[in-house]
């Protein structure tokens, strides 16, 4: 079907254009190439081409020990590095049946939410810029800087802070940790309404977003579109709610659902999730129990022979780790089911028959991180 169209284009019988967007294009947010067939300005179909930064992480992991694997998982979805670490750690801990201290659970949950906030802030910044609102980029990055400073103080790095390790944390958090978070919550509660004033009610923004790229709940489930993108279609897929891990069973929060399924609904879900993340942080930050920052682990971690599966909710959806162990210190096979991989391939379904300018809005609203797709 597609080959026929391409042939028609080449011999000049059709009026369609084939346009490549990417791999080096700002609106693809990474090295991703969309092969777009256009009829005038209208998109007929889109073929995503991936693999430009395929590093073979799953293959590399087969020769690394479990504490070493943690450092590679950062490099998948670099904006939810902490959740990626946690997925592997939880999987290993479940396999070994290690009970981590309460303190670790609380700190991990706080870091999850901080990381989710940082990720959503960057998404908001970049999404506004995709649609021509340059101011959002400065606002978003200004506020994200505060979270990155908290990370830097405690872990020594801002983005890829392999702070989790099987059994607990690498070391204890900085004494300023709680104070800085409380300052941030207070600051960001004032700044978040500004985000709404800038974009949410903006007429130009709404014309670019409302009704663009509608995705039904059935499509979301069939394509496995999880995270805020899936919840924008009304699919209750928040694993923090449905399969709680760490300290998520101890906090109160609502699962943000919208039913329209368009670009604006996905936008609203993320905006509401930022408020929820703040409220989760507030519930936890004063109640971090005292205790060890790690459980007692053997120096060489060997998993029992068998298969282990663990799912966590990253900022972009469901990350599943599937480990096949043969009893050695390295996994026999490790598989990462990454959220962006499934989220990307729905784009042909939801962006067809829209204008090419809407494609930028739709791919922005899916919040793609390309290293997570390619792995």
């Amino acid at each position: 079907m597609t080959e026929e169209i391409i042939k028609d284009v080449i011999i000049g019988e059709s009026e369609d254009y084939i346009v490549n967007i990417g791999p080096q294009h700002p609106s693809t947010h990474g090295v991703l190439r969309f092969e777009v067939c256009l009829q005038g300005e209208t998109v007929k179909y889109i073929i995503p081409h991936i693999g430009y930064i395929h590093r073979g992480i799953e293959k590399m992991c087969e020769s690394l020990t479990y504490p070493q694997i943690i450092h590679l998982t950062d490099r998948m979805d670099y904006l939810s590095a902490h959740m990626n670490n946690e997925a592997v750690c939880l999987c290993v801990e479940n396999a070994l049946q290690v009970e981590v201290p309460e303190r670790v659970k609380y700190i991990r949950t706080i870091l999850d939410e901080l990381n989710r906030l940082a990720s959503h802030q960057l998404w908001w910044a970049a999404f506004g810029m995709d649609l021509g609102a340059l101011t959002t980029f400065f606002y978003g990055l200004r506020d994200r800087e505060m979270i990155l400073d908290i990370f830097e103080e405690s872990f020594g790095s801002r983005l890829l802070h392999s702070f989790n390790t099987p059994g607990g944390l690498m070391h204890d958090v900085h004494p300023n940790f709680q104070k800085k978070i409380k300052e941030f919550i207070k600051y960001f509660r004032k700044k978040l309404p500004e985000y709404d004033q800038l974009l949410t009610g903006n007429v130009i923004f709404k014309q670019r977003a409302v009704g663009i790229g509608p995705m039904s709940k059935e499509t979301a489930i069939a394509y496995g579109v999880t995270g805020p993108s899936g919840r924008g279609s009304g699919w209750a897929c928040d694993l923090r709610k449905h399969a709680p891990y760490s300290a998520y069973d101890k906090v109160q929060f609502t699962e943000c659902l919208e039913t329209e399924g368009d670009t604006y609904a996905r936008y609203k879900v993320r905006m509401r999730e930022m408020w929820e993340s703040l409220s989760i942080l507030e519930q936890l930050v004063d109640n971090i129990p005292e205790g060890d920052y790690t459980a007692k682990m053997k120096p060489i971690i060997k998993l029992p022979a068998g298969e282990f599966f663990q799912r966590v909710e990253t900022a972009r959806g469901e990350l599943a780790v599937y480990i096949v162990s043969d009893g050695n210190k390295t996994p026999y096979r490790i598989r990462f089911r990454t959220p962006n991989f499934s989220n990307l391939f729905v784009i042909n379904t939801i962006a067809s028959n829209f204008k090419i300018a809407d494609l930028v809005a739709i791919s922005g609203s899916l919040d793609l991180v390309i290293p997570d797709i390619d792995r």
Binding site: I50, A222, Y223, G224, E307, A320, Y322, R333, R337, F345
Partner: protein, 152 residues
């Protein structure tokens, strides 16, 4: 939400030769490749199981054979099931495609085809996803790349 025994009861009626390994983390069933599509189709349609969401599909190379692994979840009942199919032929592995039932599976299958070289019958567009056409299949255990991978 069904438990292991209830899954066992439903599945053994559909596929009598199915195996149910004990002591696994999730309920698990191993079926012959020939029965895979039929079983998954019926489990998806059955209102008691209704596995409408495919979380994950991958394969594992066991040197003598391949095992394809499917993780399913039901969005209504919230239960999980692992379906596995064993591919005996290690030289020319071939199995059935589930892309018609789960659109997301089309791309998982292309990834497995790319990295393991497992061919899927009835796949709409079986092309390599990440690597060049003349590259080997890196996740196979007998894969060697003397230029780029340093053996330890």
């Amino acid at each position: 939400m069904l438990n292991r025994d209830e899954f066992k009861e439903i599945i053994s009626k559909l596929v009598p030769e199915a195996e149910f390994p004990e002591g696994t983390q999730l309920p698990e069933v191993i079926v012959p490749v020939a029965k895979l599509v039929e079983l998954v189709e019926k489990l998806k349609a059955n209102p008691n199981t209704s596995f409408d969401y495919m979380i994950n599909h991958t394969a594992v190379d066991f040197n003598t054979h391949f095992m394809t692994v499917y993780h399913f979840e039901s969005t209504t009942h919230k239960h999980l099931l692992v379906v596995k199919a064993k591919i005996e032929d290690h030289e020319n592995p071939e199995t059935e495609s589930l892309a018609a039932l789960y659109p997301t599976c089309e791309f998982f299958e292309r990834e497995v085809f790319d990295l393991f070289g497992i061919r899927y019958k009835n796949h709409p567009n079986l092309k390599r996803l990440f690597l060049e056409d003349d590259y080997g299949h890196p996740l196979r255990k007998d894969f060697r790349d003397e230029v780029n991978i340093i053996e330890r």
